[in-house]
């Protein structure tokens, strides 16, 4: 059984600040990490692998050379092979161009795949579009918002528990299929030193635009139907005053004084 996990490298969002003058992200000194939802997707793949003996996992990412580190983490966490789609021609891709490139890469590196797993969304763009678009381009069934899944031991079917507004739904799809996952109840894993050593010996492939069966006009900015016009932070509410270092009674007095001074009581 072959599982493809599509992953993305993102800035560590907790440390990203927005330049108030330009409205752009200040990325200096901010570490890049594997998108958490992609890690959850990989965790599901590793979970399936631990229950079956015939599973291989390949992780694919489109990004600059630095995205290698996100794929290395995938190898640390149990992926068998990593593929980095890296070419200047991919730059500036919107969700459609990204999905088209990924779908083309899947057909090239793992044409006989059974299952594609993606995160629900990347935490830097938050679009949640790429996974479903990959499924549409490949013409396969898709199940979104998965929290749990199992692959039937007989027959090519994946059974998924997915979040809905009212609770959970159990959905089954024939494979090949694509499943996008949310956080669910998973506890983040940590590789062992043995895993990290082993990862250094696993295959890592670089794929460029010429390796894919796509026209240049379908790639990157050229192949994008949408443009980012402006990025700006939401209005920030003024932070409140914190009463600290006081006993409960004194703290209550301080709050009452404040409320009085502000005319609330």
């Amino acid at each position: 059984m072959k599982i493809v996990v599509c992953v993305k490298q993102v800035p560590e969002i907790n440390n990203v600040k927005v330049n108030p003058e330009t409205g752009t992200l200040v990325r200096e000194g901010v570490a890049s990490v594997l998108n958490p939802f992609c890690e959850y997707a990989l965790d599901h793949a590793v979970g399936i692998k631990s229950a079956r003996s015939d599973v291989s996992i390949v992780c694919i990412s489109m990004g600059p050379p630095q995205a290698r580190s996100a794929l290395m983490r995938c190898l640390d966490l149990g992926a068998d092979e990593a593929v980095l789609l890296c070419d200047r021609k991919f730059a500036g891709a919107d969700t459609w161009a990204t999905a088209l490139t990924l779908a083309s890469a899947v057909k090239k590196v793992s044409p006989d795949f059974d299952l594609i797993l993606t995160g629900k969304q990347a935490i830097d763009g938050d679009t949640a579009q790429v996974g479903p678009e990959v499924a549409e381009i490949l013409g396969i069934p898709q199940i979104t918002y998965a929290v749990d899944m199992e692959v039937a031991s007989i027959g090519r079917r994946v059974r998924v528990r997915r979040e809905s507004e009212n609770g959970y739904e159990i959905v089954t799809a024939r494979m090949p299929a694509l499943v996008s996952v949310v956080k669910g109840e998973m506890l983040r894993r940590m590789p062992s030193f043995a895993d990290i050593v082993a990862a250094r010996g696993k295959p890592f492939r670089l794929v460029n635009a010429d390796d894919l069966l796509l026209d240049e006009s379908q790639l990157g900015l050229q192949g994008s139907y949408t443009r980012v016009v402006r990025v700006f932070p939401p209005c920030v509410r003024k932070s409140g005053r914190k009463v600290e270092g006081l006993e409960a009674l004194d703290a209550a007095h301080a709050i009452i004084e404040f409320l009085r001074a502000e005319g609330f009581i």
């Binding site: 000194g29 990490v33 940590m190 062992s192 030193f193």
Partner: protein
Amino acid sequence: MHEIHTKTCRGARLEAVRQISGFTEIGKGYAGYLTDESKYPGGKADFLFFPRDESELSAVFKEMASCGVPVTVAGARTGLVGGCVPLSGAVVSLERLNEIHLVYYDECSEEWRVRAQCAVSLRELDRCLLAKSFPWIEKHGTEESREQLARLQKDPRGYFYPPDPTERSASLGGTVATNASGARTYRYGSTRNWVRRIRVMLPNGELLDIPRGKYFASPSREFLIYDSAGTPLHLKIPSYILPETKNTAGIFSAPSMDLIDLFIGSEGIFGAITSIDVALLEREEKISIVQFVDSDEKALDLVETLKDQKAIPLDFLELYSQEAIHLLRDRQQRDSKSVGMPPIPGEAGAGVFFEFSFSPDSGSTEFEAIIDAVRGCGGDVKNSWAAYEPRELDRLKNFRHILPETVNAIIAERKKQHPGLHKLGTDLAVPANCLREMWRIYTERLRSTGMQWLAFGHVGNNHVHINILPRDMDELAQGLNLYREFALEAVRLGGTVSAEHGIGKLKAPYLKVMYNAEHIQEMMDIKRTLDPLSLLNPGDMFEVGSS
């Protein structure tokens, strides 16, 4: 040269210094300034000052000295021995001296340095170095300092400040005053090794500017300080020989010592450090590993083997004892997410936490020394956690922090029944060849009492923190006796009563365990010369009333 002249700081009036007056007002609205992380009880003060620069600090010191008011200096208040808890008089918080003024390349020593005011936190310093962004220099720096910054920004290499006390919100000044250390002391030494220059405000309100390598003790072991009136102050350095272990008990002393070292680690009893130049090191990527093994003995075996192997220099070597692992596993089983880690392996009976430089793209053969060491101690590298990305490294650090946090939570719960209860945490270090002996003493004595205890910390420096968790007041008394017994044993083995926490107020009684009366008198003579009325940080290092 052993003679130095003070500098005067004029221009500020006490009235101009931001201040809060009155015992009640401070107690109500500023209670945080009456305590620190040690929770040392009984802090009280009549004045609270927030000087914004050296001239304001000087005005405070001079005025308080003229009125005979004791002054306690506070940094970030992260200390563990009550050093900045005021017993009376005034508290001076240095928190407004919080800018980084210069980053420069020292051509002689071929190293990058930073000049920062004392209240800059370690976290802020690291953040600025990581981003190579120094807002104060960019806005207010001289042309030359902006050129130096531009040079740093063009340098493709990253730099960091090696000392890493666990508490990242600690102020740089506080860490210099206490010669703070931490896990990475194993490789990089304590704060002292990285300080290149300090400015110190003496109790008389005058400044000393001390670069490293300029003022050394005379052959008769003396320094001579001239104040602004030309009065000579003779400082005779103590005659004791310090242990070869990591140590923060007592003031530094060595033949021909550098004057800067007298102030580093002196816990502020001689003066308040206002500005510091520190050296930086090229930043390297690291991998941290928590290696689980069967037992405490196997963990100590692994520690020794890792120390003996020279192929891969380690940054730190920390221990999780069997009881520590049990405590964390128990917490994890009650709430799987509370520890923030995957389940601790069932077979884990102890753990060793260590770190070394690592390039994520390097080949696997480089790690054989580590793998062999683990295997040689009956371990398996599959039973480990390893991380090299910053956020994953933070997870392992948090796992380390959760341990004392869990201990504190247990004690807090027991305090509901026994309000006077507190945990007992040792800070003893011994020479490397005595680690096993000290461990035997700890385990035999503790197991014989039946008290709850655990061990963790800097085993690489032969500095394991024993935490005793008394269940009631009887056990507390029993634990205190054990603590003293352990301190005596550590000193007997050539170690120290305080390897990193310092003495402060909390551990002042233990200074007498390590030093005889003559040696303590030698320290107090220096104190009396610089602070004749004992007004600065009273109760720190020497108990109030000792003379």
